[in-house]
């Protein structure tokens, strides 16, 4: 024990905190051993003092300090007794300074090495040299050897890294602690902990530990027996979760502050439940891992995945978006990089739509709202590569979904696939600002993301980054360069303005062309992107070139692209094809194709054909079933297609001009291509073992062959040769293709492939998101070729019927698809058209056209006509030709229109050229045969309707008519300057209200046609067509247009001119329409609170209609009918107020008799009016004679009906005042206008002839009137009585009278009395009387007012006795005993 005490605390290296355990240990030992304190109060012996100072000095210098006896501080400080101390003079010295203290030679020290210590301090070395260290070491060894004997060794810990001396001791201490802890736990606890550890530790680590344990000590696992387990301290139970034990020895440390030690607890197990959040009560924040996968909250994710962190919910793995945003602004670079990288991954995944089902809100939209764009933009400005690269990736992922581009590139070679979408969001709303430059970045961002990017100088930054990355190693920069191109491509896709803006950014364009489309390809050195042809750069040029011929011209000539591309093409042909080159070459073809379509660089390509292209094709064919080659061939054949179109166009244009351009490209250049293409296509039919997707190649081949045939036919070159070619195609390619098994499979899956609306598209960033690629491109091309073949060989459709046989088999999926498509097209009036649906439109049209040709005798089912009609409003801008062709097909097929499905054909002999005079001032009911007659009449006008509707298509275009080439080549034949291969991604060609033609633009005064006749013709045309559709019960009217729109469009004719409705022709249609609507019960189903599609609100419309009626109707019966429709009781009372209150002059002309009204009258009478203001006006116009029975019978009837109902209605208390006033006025006029009074009181019901009146007053009403009389009498009496004084009031006669009153009243209801008695005082009196009939204090309570609770409850009951409504209240009168 004593030994222990005397052991000096071992020296420590570095700054170490006091070892409390040790200190306490010593303290305890000391107390137990009862040792003498080492410091004592002693008198210093005198001898010592007399020692010479010199000796002392020397001694001190080399003093051998006894470690065991040294005390740091003397416990008692005693003043030295200096009384007897002799005072010595200072010793004279020779030197001017005291002698320097000597510590031995320091150089020697460096050579000394202390055993067992790696790096000994100078002090230690000195001690060692002086032989003092030995003591300490010996002690240490001795101690540890004792301990070794006593205790077991840890198997696991070696303590290396802790230092030799401390290590050993520390190790032992840790081990002891472990053992002690294990001892304190019972078996279950240990197993639990073990389980926990096994879970939380890296499995590799566990395996390592196990192995190590086994090596050192086979099978020996320390496990305390159950008996040694300590009983648990119940009081300290709480602390078991926190590994802290208190010790009373610590000053002020005896209380454990658990709330501060929360962090030491184990993580709670993650649960799906979460503390309720105010902002979002259901749902938990989404957490993502680094790859952007959504993390499940309940899944058990090991902490080694590094997804747990000190966030809001440490137990849940993964990062929320908020946390990522936070981290992306961290000061630590790595955190920023990781956060942005994770965000980039999340965005990439979000665009694929994987989150759509899991997240409550659209993720991309939320990110944009949170300002991710600014975050990225800031990150792009950083100088460190790691971060700007991630930022670029993030931006590319955000604005340019990879899937969009991929599918777009796979559809470019489809028929009409050269149209690229211009992804322009809706027009920027300026709000209060004057111009776009006044808007802040944030405001622009909300409306248009790409424009905002331009504002934020992304272009300039891109140049800088591209330039800066040139010096980086190839591996790091390649992806970022590509990402920058993705961003640029998406920006160029925005609109023509943006494309021009990019093109004008000269620095950027120069750099791109110089570096990525160099004049000559330099031999490749380990995949560096700079100085080589980059596919993305070519694609970027293609997207720019799509924006029009002018931009293309500038692009080619500023950079001499023809030379550059030519060089590369020739070079690539001579090289063996590697995959990288392959991609660039494919892009090069693709770019060249767009150039040729725009009318540039065709000659250059033509000159290359015989020398370069044809040999290349031959080599390709030899290698044929090959994925890589087929991709190349697809682009090459698409290029041929463009070339054929260009040449056809060119020759057609210059045919009439006399000058002969010898060097220009002509048909002979491409004549040889036919065989090549056919050979390639034949190759695709060869069945191969390996799965190679040759659909694309077949598609492009089909359309190229079709173009070839069209070209040859149009130009009338070798017409004799043409049937031969057709035969060749049929036999060698088309028929085998139609028979192939893959074809059948394709048709079976067709209905699954329909295009869907993008889900991730936001308002400021439209995207095209499409999950799968459909087969409609292929089908479209197939049908196009078949169509052409039919046109060349007219006998074929009757003999062969390829398509009918293929697609219209039993249980055909195509028919199912067409039905589904019809539903989809007519599903919603505000349907947005997905970009990729355009191919389906083309397919549907071609399909119907072919079926039309193939039908022999039986008619085509109506569904095909319906679908074409439904298709029209879905066509995108740019598909003029398709719309025109559809019109042609529909309007010229009389067989469809004359078909009698529900329409009984009128006797044809009735058709004369005279006007039908359906509308007369006498009756407006038109029989169905007359209507059919009108229908026949309208059908006769179909050819002129075609011209009319065709002109609507071209109303906004410079060229009015499309020629035949346009139709075949899909509108590519416009004049070159206007040619644009970009069409807006969702703007449709025709409005949903297209059947109404120009009517809606007439309503809004967009179109001003001064000539009256022209205007009449226009209106008539629209009316005719709509009438035809209406009679056909056409789906497009019924489904896509709301009833309100259908009604208003027709009623709106009245607004188009003061005298339009007086024209007989138009009036005929107006009558017929009214009858039609009436038959469909449409007049009762208008939605008066909604908008008229693509026009104004119904309310505004009605107001202008009433205005117009007021100004120039002449009280026309038909017009009055139209005007009355919204006045029915089922509609909003605002509409009635318009007529009855705001335009009360109108009432004078509405001289309708009830039998002149076409539709059921009940709707004007049932239910009763309950708007007090209108009722007051009813009374007013009746009383002041604006409405008279002899003139405006119908209005009179309405007013009387509602007033009567109102006056005898006793259900509502708030109307009593008005009731009384009106009643009084009526009474007052009863002398001079007896009829009105009688009718108001005696009114029974309405009828076509006029109001029906009770001969005598019905009992209930007469009782009512009687009561009124009695009460009037009573009131007078009471009034006089009340005016008498108190003494008289208490007389016995008064009491009798009061009792009489009380009993009478109690048999009636108070409200009834209130409605009858119009004297407030009397009412109050009666009221008090009723509630307290026996009290004498009645008059004192007179002012207390009506007691709410004692009011009788009324139950409303309606009895119908010949149309009269009686309301009989059930009265509970409470009489107190």
């Amino acid at each position: 024990m004593n030994n222990d005490l005397q052991v000096r605390p071992k020296p420590k290296f570095g700054v170490s905190d006091d070892d409390e355990d040790e200190m306490l240990n010593y303290q305890e030992l000391f107390q137990r051993s009862n040792l003498q304190p080492s410091a004592q109060v002693i008198r210093e012996p005198k001898i010592k003092r007399q020692q010479s100072t010199e000796n002392e000095d020397r001694k001190r210098k080399t003093s051998n300090i006894d470690l065991t006896e040294t005390t740091v501080m003397r416990p008692i400080i005693v003043e030295r007794d200096v009384s007897s101390t002799p005072i010595q003079l200072p010793k004279p010295i020779n030197d001017s300074f005291p002698q320097a203290k000597y510590r031995g030679n320091e150089d020697d020290l460096e050579k000394i090495t202390v055993p067992n210590v790696k790096k000994a301090s100078m002090f230690a070395k000195q001690m060692y040299r002086d032989g003092k260290l030995k003591v300490c070491q010996e002690l240490e060894e001795k101690k540890s050897s004792i301990q070794n004997e006593k205790m077991s060794h840890s198997k696991l810990l070696t303590g290396c890294g802790l230092g030799e001396v401390t290590g050993e001791r520390e190790l032992q201490r840790i081990h002891n602690e472990n053992v002690e802890r294990l001892n304190s736990m019972n078996e279950n606890e240990i197993l639990e902990e073990r389980e926990k550890l096994l879970k939380s530790l890296d499995p590799k680590l566990i395996a390592f530990i196990r192995k190590r344990t086994k090596q050192e000590d086979e099978g020996l696992i320390y496990r305390p027996s159950a008996s040694t387990a300590q009983p648990m301290d119940i009081e300290n139970q709480k602390s078991t979760t926190i590994p802290i034990e208190t010790d009373s020895c610590w000053l002020h440390m005896d209380k454990v502050e658990y709330e501060k030690l929360e962090w030491m607890k184990d993580l709670p197990t993650p649960s799906a439940q979460r503390a309720p959040d105010e902002s979002n009560p259901d749902g938990v924040p989404a957490r993502f891992d680094f790859k952007g996968n959504l993390m499940s909250r309940t899944a058990d994710i090991s902490v080694t995945a590094a997804l747990h962190h000190h966030g809001e919910e440490p137990e849940a793995a993964g990062y929320t978006l908020e946390e990522l945003f936070h981290l992306s602004r961290s000061a630590v670079l790595q955190q920023r990089v990781i956060a942005l990288q994770t965000l980039a991954n999340i965005i990439r995944q979000a665009h694929t739509g994987v989150y759509d089902l899991d997240l409550q809100l659209p993720l991309i939209q939320k990110l944009l709202e949170a300002g991710i764009v600014f975050l990225i933009r800031w990150a792009m400005d950083e100088q460190i590569e790691a971060i700007y690269m991630v930022a670029v990736e993030c931006l590319a992922n955000l604005i340019a979904p990879r899937k969009d581009e991929e599918i777009l590139s796979r559809t470019t070679h489809w028929p009409c696939g050269y149209y690229e979408p211009s992804l322009t969001p809706a027009e920027i709303e300026l709000g209060e600002k004057k111009s776009e430059s006044d808007l802040t970045d944030v405001e622009i961002l909300e409306q248009d993301l790409v424009k905002c990017l331009f504002r934020m100088n992304v272009l300039k930054r891109s140049v800088y980054l591209l330039n800066g990355m040139k010096l980086l190693p190839a591996l790091t920069s390649t992806i970022t360069v590509r990402n920058i191109f993705h961003i640029l491509i998406r920006m160029a896709r925005h609109s023509m303005t943006c494309a021009n803006q990019i093109f004008e950014e000269k620095q950027l364009m120069d750099f791109i062309v110089q570096e990525f489309i160099p004049e000559f390809a330099i031999p490749n050195d380990e995949g560096h992107v700079y100085g080589h042809l980059l596919p993305e750069a070519l694609k970027f040029c293609r997207v720019l070139a799509n924006h029009g011929s002018t931009l293309t011209y500038n692009l080619i000539h500023r950079y001499e692209l023809h030379k550059r591309l030519g060089n590369h093409l020739v070079a690539a042909m001579n090289r063996s094809l590697s995959s990288e080159d392959n991609q660039a070459l494919a892009e090069l073809f693709s770019l060249w194709r767009i150039f040729i379509l725009q009318g540039h660089m065709a000659d250059e390509f033509g000159s290359l054909i015989p020398t370069v292209i044809l040999p290349f094709c031959r080599t390709c064919i030899q290698q044929m079933p090959n994925m890589m080659i087929s991709q190349l061939l697809v682009q090459l054949i698409a290029l041929f297609d463009a070339l054929i179109i260009h040449i056809t166009k060119f020759i057609m244009k210059h045919r009439n001009s006399s000058e002969e351009e010898s060097n220009a490209i002509n048909w002979s250049h491409i004549d040889g291509l036919f065989d090549i293409i056919l050979t390639v296509e034949k190759q695709t039919l060869i069945e191969t073992d390996e799965e190679i997707d040759l659909d694309a190649l077949q598609t492009v081949g089909l359309s190229c062959l079709a173009s070839f045939l069209i070209g040859q036919q149009l130009l009338t070159i070798n017409l004799l040769d043409l049937p031969l070619k057709v035969h060749q195609i049929r036999v060698q390619f088309l028929e085998p293709l139609l028979r192939s098994t893959s074809m059948k499979k394709l048709i079976e899956t067709v209905k699954l492939n329909t295009a869907t609306l993008p889900t991730n598209s936001t308002r400021n960033l439209p995207t095209l998101t499409q999950t799968n690629i459909s087969s409609f491109g292929f089908l479209n091309a197939l049908l196009r070729l078949t169509n052409i073949i039919y046109q060349i060989d007219k006998s074929l459709p009757n003999s062969k019927k390829f398509i009918t046989e293929l697609m219209l088999t039993k249980n055909s999926e195509i028919v199912v698809y067409v039905k589904k498509m019809l539903n989809k097209l007519t599903s919603n009036s505000i349907r947005k058209v997905p970009w990729f649906e355009q191919f389906e439109h083309g397919f549907l049209f071609q399909f119907v056209q072919i079926l039309y040709q193939e039908k022999s005798d039986q008619d085509l089912p109506s569904i095909y006509y319906e679908i074409l009609l439904a298709l029209l409003p879905s066509l995108l801008k740019g598909y003029h030709f398709l719309a025109q062709e559809t019109f042609k097909l529909i309007f010229f097929d009389l067989s469809y229109w004359k078909r009698s499905n529900e329409i009984e054909l009128a006797d044809l002999s009735l058709i004369t050229n005279e006007s039908l005079h359906l509308a007369s001032n006498q009756s407006i009911i038109v029989s169905s045969s007359q209507r059919t007659l009108l229908y026949e009449r309208a059908i006769e006008h179909l050819p002129s309707l075609y011209t009319y509707y065709k002109n609507i298509l071209h109303i906004n275009r410079s060229s009015v008519d499309l020629n035949i080439c346009d139709i075949h080549f899909g509108n590519l034949f416009q004049s070159d300057d206007l040619l644009k291969l970009n069409i807006h991604y969702s703007h449709t060609l025709l409005d949903i209200t297209w059947p109404y033609g120009l009517l809606s633009s007439l309503y809004t005064n967009v179109l001003t046609i001064a000539d009256e006749n022209q205007r009449l013709e226009l209106i008539l045309n629209s009316l005719r067509f709509v009438y035809i559709l209406e009679m056909k019960h056409s789906l497009i009217l019924y489904k896509t247009l709301s009833k309100t729109t259908r009604f208003s469009m027709i009623a709106g004719i009245y607004l188009l001119g003061s005298e339009i409705f007086l024209e007989k022709n138009i009036a005929d249609y107006l009558v017929a329409f009214l009858n039609c609507f009436n038959e469909q019960n449409l007049l009762q189903k208008l939605e008066t609170k909604s908008n008229i599609q693509s026009l104004m609100t119904f309310f505004d419309f009605y107001r202008t209609l009433v205005d117009q009626y007021e100004a120039c109707s002449f009280g026309d019966i038909l017009y009055s009918n139209y005007l009355l429709i919204p006045l029915q009781q089922i509609y909003d009372n605002q509409l009635r107020k318009q007529v009855w209150i705001e335009h009360s002059t109108v009432l004078r002309y509405l001289r309708l008799k009830p039998d002149q009204i076409l539709f059921p009258l009940e709707h004007f009478f049932v239910p009763y009016e309950n708007d007090l203001e209108i009722l007051r006006y009813y009374a007013q116009v009746l009383l002041n004679g604006t409405i008279q029975k002899s003139i405006q019978l119908f209005l009179y009837m309405i007013a009387v009906h509602h007033l009567n109902g109102f006056l005898f209605d006793q259900t509502r208390t708030e109307q009593f005042n008005l009731q009384r006033t009106i009643m009084k006025t009526i009474q007052s006029i009863s002398t001079n206008n007896k009829i009105l009074h009688d009718e108001l009181v005696n009114y029974k019901t309405f009828s076509r002839e006029g109001p029906v009146i009770f001969a005598s007053l019905p009992s209930i009403r007469s009782a009512y009137a009687m009561l009124r009389l009695i009460f009037n009498g009573i009131c007078t009496v009471t009034n006089t009585l009340l005016n008498r004084n108190e003494t008289q009031a208490s007389t016995s006669r008064w009491r009798i009278f009061r009792n009489f009153l009380g009993s009478t009243m109690s048999s009636l209801g108070r409200p009834l009395i209130r409605s009858i008695v119009n004297n407030e005082t009397v009412y109050e009196y009666v009221n008090t009387l009723l509630s307290n009939p026996t009290t004498r204090e009645h008059h004192r309570r007179a002012n207390l007012g009506l007691d709410r609770h004692s009011r009788p409850t009324f139950r409303r009951r309606t009895y119908h006795h010949g149309g009269i409504r009686i309301i009989r209240p059930i009265i509970h009168v409470h009489v107190r005993q």
């Binding site: 003061s1058 007021e1110 100004a1111 002449f1114 002059t1145 002309y1149």
Partner: protein
Amino acid sequence: MNAPATFESFLLLDGERKIIVEKDSKVPNAVVFTISKEDHTLANMLRAQLLKDPKVIFAGYKIPHPLENKVILRVQTASHEYSAVNAMENAIKDLIFEMDMLEDRVKSAIANRQSAE
């Protein structure tokens, strides 16, 4: 800047007629009066007066466009013996009479008032 001159709303242009009377060919006994340089002030008054006439079955006006300073008034009477032009004349006479009466009454009322003070 390009606002029409203020006098345009009340000064007749050279050769412009104040009132044009046309018979409506499609409606019996109907006449369309086009009154230049007038607005609601006159037209509304005229219409109200016309509608008081029991033989007038329709009287309505409209201003074709706010910038065109004219009013189109359509009047229809019950029979051809009493034409719309007659009705119009009567209405104008009545209106003038009413105005005169109003003026007289105002004057006499003022006179009464002044004499009372």
